[in-house]
């Protein structure tokens, strides 16, 4: 399954990329699976996504929780808690 992942704000800077296209292994079906997959890269990925820090995930521009299922072609966004207004 291929998806697009977007990063914003501090995470965009820390990961040094605004977006990437990913071919997910068969076992990765949910947001939780995707986060584990990315954290397995180690370094900043592990620190930000598996280090107890708070972040938010949206699928196709809707906020979701970690049990949400991924669909092929989905636009997934990972970002820090919002601070607008």
């Amino acid at each position: 399954m291929q998806i697009t992942v977007l990063y914003f704000a501090r995470l965009r800077e820390t990961f040094q990329t605004p977006s990437e296209t990913l071919d997910l292994p068969t076992g990765v079906q949910s947001v939780a699976g995707l986060i584990a997959h990315l954290a397995a890269r180690g370094g900043a990925w592990s620190e930000e996504l598996a280090g107890g820090k708070v972040f938010r995930v949206a699928i196709n521009q809707e906020l979701v929780d970690f049990t949400a299922q991924l669909q092929a072609g989905a636009e997934v966004a990972i970002f820090p808690p919002v601070t607008g207004g």
Partner: protein
């Protein structure tokens, strides 16, 4: 309940400043059912900035931002009898004293206009994908989210809206 037409909702995300008086006039023009209009204007204030901060920069998630703001406005229009909602949120670089955000709510009833406006701001601050960065001579730093904003938004889950009778004229 009054028979309200579906609330008119308009959302803008823009780098330009907005004109409060103009936006209020546009919102109320031709709608004689409006008895109360509440506006919120958020400004960059210098008290919350460190001495050395020269500007804020607002990043957002184009596409999701507009959807999130529309969803928040639509939820308010389900909870309260609203004639119209207007939200303008600026992005890009802003300096102390500049306007960041405008929320306008119009209703036959004053408490509906107040509560819907407060609700929209509380949810905007927790669900709309904007991020603030402070610029200093030593470089930039991201603003951290605040627990008080999360608890402000959470309290609405407990709120049961009061009924607005048609005698409560503004």
């Amino acid at each position: 309940m009054d028979k309200l037409p579906q609330a008119r909702i308009a959302i803008s995300v823009q780098t330009e400043d907005f004109d409060l008086g103009h936006e209020a006039d546009v919102l109320s023009a031709g709608d004689r059912g409006i008895g109360a209009m509440v506006s919120f204007v958020g400004l960059v204030r210098d008290l919350n900035l460190a001495e050395d901060v020269v500007a804020l920069e607002l990043e957002h998630y184009p596409g999701m931002t507009e959807k999130a703001l529309l969803g928040i406005a639509e939820e308010a229009a389900v909870r309260w009898p609203l004639n119209a909602v207007r939200i303008v949120h600026r992005v890009g670089r802003l300096h102390p004293g500049e306007r960041i955000v405008l929320v306008l709510t119009a209703s036959p009833h004053r408490h509906a206009a107040y509560e819907a406006n407060t609700f929209i701001m509380d949810f905007l601050k927790t669900r709309a994908p904007f991020w603030k960065k402070e610029w200093t001579p030593d470089g930039p730093r991201w603003v951290e989210a605040r627990d008080s904003d999360l608890s402000a938004a959470a309290r609405w889950h407990q709120v049961v809206s009061k009924q607005y009778g048609n005698t409560d004229h503004d």
